[in-house]
């Protein structure tokens, strides 16, 4: 059976729609519109043209030989999603959903954001398509990511700091859902990852599957073979699903790197698949970091984009079946990965992506020079300069 054919709402026992009834009509409407758009040549052509002339697709593949030499094993190739407009893979999904929202006659986009990348991408699409935009962001994150708040405002979006709960990404999602329940008539909730209620996990995956589809073709053309392993960082899981999906039915190892924060054996991490349990969060049955009573536990990671106590349900399914494996990378390992790629290749990755890079080096050591590891270079590190400068002690009077 083809694993690529999975259409939701369930992935094995995961997924579904655990949301207030008031949202079901909107989810049904979205599902119907998305199903129609999938086979609508006009929609597909419109999206493809946006990707060509706005996003800058196809993104290239770069061989990172000096970086791979640090491990001295397998070759490492990078799928350069960092070169997309707005600096990460997030734009793939945002343009797809914004086009759908327009078709549905919605005039207002709302989104949640952690680090601000998805918020920036959504604000960008709203500006491009002449829609109004509200981005919910945990108050803690608005302080950590002040520059991205400014970017969103410059693009014309309202940024609403969320002051409830832990005041981070998960609370921003709750607040966006509350807004959507109240304003569903004119508003589309542009969810930024492969989590949430159906159809978001399949739809967001499909909009990002262009990453793996391009990469598979590019690598076959350049190398005449498939990679040994395809790897990506995993927070909610969108860039990983985007690159994994094309390879699900191939004899290719799939590895997702979760944020291990201070370490897998400390309480401060975001390793949902390895340390969480199945439960319900944000509308889907999936793995959740939670206590015995089912209260969500706060996650911790140096990278705001991986700092999420849930995970897309398709990843939960791929983990249980063993089709994909998930490994933890600590803050310190990720920051070393960021430094290594910057200094060997002249490419500054996002801290999120650096988790996958550190993981790729570990993996490369166990493989031979005839093996190829394909890394999804999901985003660039410009947004992380303040964190990196502080971490590496590049700023005076800070450490």
């Amino acid at each position: 059976m083809s694993l690529r054919a999975e259409l939701g709402p369930y992935f094995g026992e995961y997924g579904g729609r655990f949301v207030p009834e008031a949202l079901i009509a909107a989810l049904d409407e979205l599902d119907a519109a998305y199903t129609a758009a999938k086979t609508d040549a006009v929609f597909q052509a419109e999206l493809a043209e946006l990707h060509r002339s706005y996003t800058g697709r196809p993104s290239i593949i770069t061989e990172a030989s000096r970086f791979a030499a640090l491990a001295g094993g397998a070759r490492i190739l990078l799928k350069r999603e960092d070169l997309n407009h707005t600096g990460s893979h997030k734009i793939n999904n945002v343009l797809g959903q914004a086009l759908l929202a327009k078709r549905l006659g919605k005039t207002r986009l709302i989104a949640e954001t952690g680090a601000g990348q998805h918020g920036v991408a959504t604000a960008t699409a709203a500006a491009l398509m002449g829609m109004s935009c509200v981005v919910y962001m945990g108050e803690v994150d608005t302080e950590r990511q002040a520059l991205n708040v400014a970017r969103m405002k410059l693009l014309g979006a309202d940024v609403v700091p969320v002051v409830h709960g832990s005041r981070t990404l998960k609370d921003a999602i709750n607040e966006a859902m509350r807004d959507w329940v109240a304003n569903v008539a004119d508003t589309h909730y542009l969810l930024g990852t492969v989590a949430g209620p159906h159809p978001f996990p399949v739809m967001v995956r499909d909009f990002h599957s262009i990453i793996g589809n391009e990469a598979r073709e590019q690598i076959l053309e350049a190398e005449g073979r498939l990679p040994t392993a395809v790897v990506a960082c995993v927070g909610g899981g969108s860039n990983a699903m985007g690159i994994f999906h094309a390879f699900l039915d191939d004899d290719v190892a799939l590895i997702g790197y979760e944020a291990a924060g201070d370490g897998m054996d400390t309480p401060r991490h975001a390793a949902t698949l390895q340390r969480g349990r199945p439960g319900v969060l944000h509308g889907a049955k999936t793995y959740v970091l939670q206590d015995d009573d089912g209260q969500t536990i706060e996650s911790h990671s140096i990278s705001a984009g991986l700092d999420y106590p849930g995970i897309g349900p398709e990843h939960a399914w791929l983990k249980d079946s063993g089709r994909a494996t998930y490994v933890g990378i600590s803050d310190a390992e990720a920051m070393q990965g960021m430094l290594d790629l910057s200094r060997t290749e002249g490419i500054i990755p996002a801290i999120e992506t650096a988790h996958a890079l550190a993981g790729a080096l570990d993996l490369a050591r166990t493989l031979s020079p005839s093996d190829i590891i394909l890394v999804n270079l999901s985003g660039r590190g410009d947004k992380d300069m303040e964190t990196a400068a502080r971490y590496f002690g590049f700023l005076r009077d800070t450490q």
Partner: protein, 264 residues
């Protein structure tokens, strides 16, 4: 299967009035005061108690209830205390208690185990704001096994087909969400409430209570003019926050005036 909630609604209807359903969150501001407040709720004339389980990610709740449930969690609320509270209240008053809970705490406790412990503590069923009948097969089985009510929500945006599934799946009453929005007091109760209730009754619902945004005696009066009952939450939580169980008693008495005025 006999439902005490259904009997309470039917008896009130025979008296020519609707019922008042009062919500308070479990463990707020602490377990003992919560029990006292629930007893005050009952003794001041609430017909059915809705006892909310504090949850870390309450997507259906507005600011007032979020503050209270967060405070309960910050104060160390554990699920086991829910049953302790129910036992404490049912020892003193016989107002039926429906537990309002987001679904994950029930999943983690074990759906059947939760149902069994709820029944043993004296609770009569669950109101499930983020569980739709489509996803509820385990809850259907457990609630039938243990003889508990299942209150699902209906929204103004629900199709007739979905309303029928909600009516067929519910026992006790159907919870009609008065407006497209989250919990919290509003100046006016949306006109959408009446048309939703009319649709539900037209599709065969025998008992419908209206919630979300109801905070005044005049809301209770107007809602119970066309529905089986009115559900009040945030307003009572505010009263408990500012004036303790005595505030709850006062606020409840004022709301009850909305019910009795119907008989004038």
């Amino acid at each position: 299967m006999s439902s005490r909630v259904e009997s309470v609604i039917d008896v009130a209807r025979a008296d020519g009035r609707g019922v008042l359903v009062g919500y308070l969150p479990a463990g707020f501001p602490d377990v003992q005061t919560c029990i006292e407040a629930l007893i005050a709720l009952s003794e001041s004339g609430v017909d059915i108690i809705e006892l909310g389980v504090p949850y870390s990610d309450p997507v259906m709740d507005g600011v007032v209830i979020q503050r209270a449930t967060n405070a309960a969690l910050d104060g160390g609320f554990r699920l086991a205390q829910l049953f302790e509270i129910i036992r404490g209240v049912t020892a003193k008053v016989d107002t039926p208690i429906l537990v309002m809970t987001y679904w994950n705490p029930v999943v983690q406790y074990g759906v059947d185990r939760f149902a069994k412990d709820l029944k043993e503590a004296g609770g009569v069923g669950l109101i499930t704001p983020d569980l739709i009948p489509d996803e509820a097969s385990e809850w259907f089985a457990a609630s039938d096994t243990h003889g508990l009510d299942r209150v699902f929500l209906a929204a103004p945006s629900s199709t007739d087909e979905r309303l029928v599934a909600t009516i067929n799946g519910s026992r006790g009453f159907v919870y009609a969400v008065s407006t497209m929005g989250i919990t919290g007091a509003r100046a006016d109760v949306d006109g959408a409430a009446r048309s939703l209730v009319d649709r539900l009754i037209g599709l065969g619902a025998k008992r419908v209570c209206v919630g979300v945004g109801i905070s005044k005696a005049e809301h209770v009066r107007s809602v119970t003019g066309y529905a089986s009952g009115a559900i009040v939450g945030s307003h009572l939580v505010s009263a408990l926050t500012s004036d303790g169980p005595a505030g709850v008693a006062r606020a409840t008495s004022e709301l009850v005036a909305g019910l009795t005025a119907l008989q004038d």
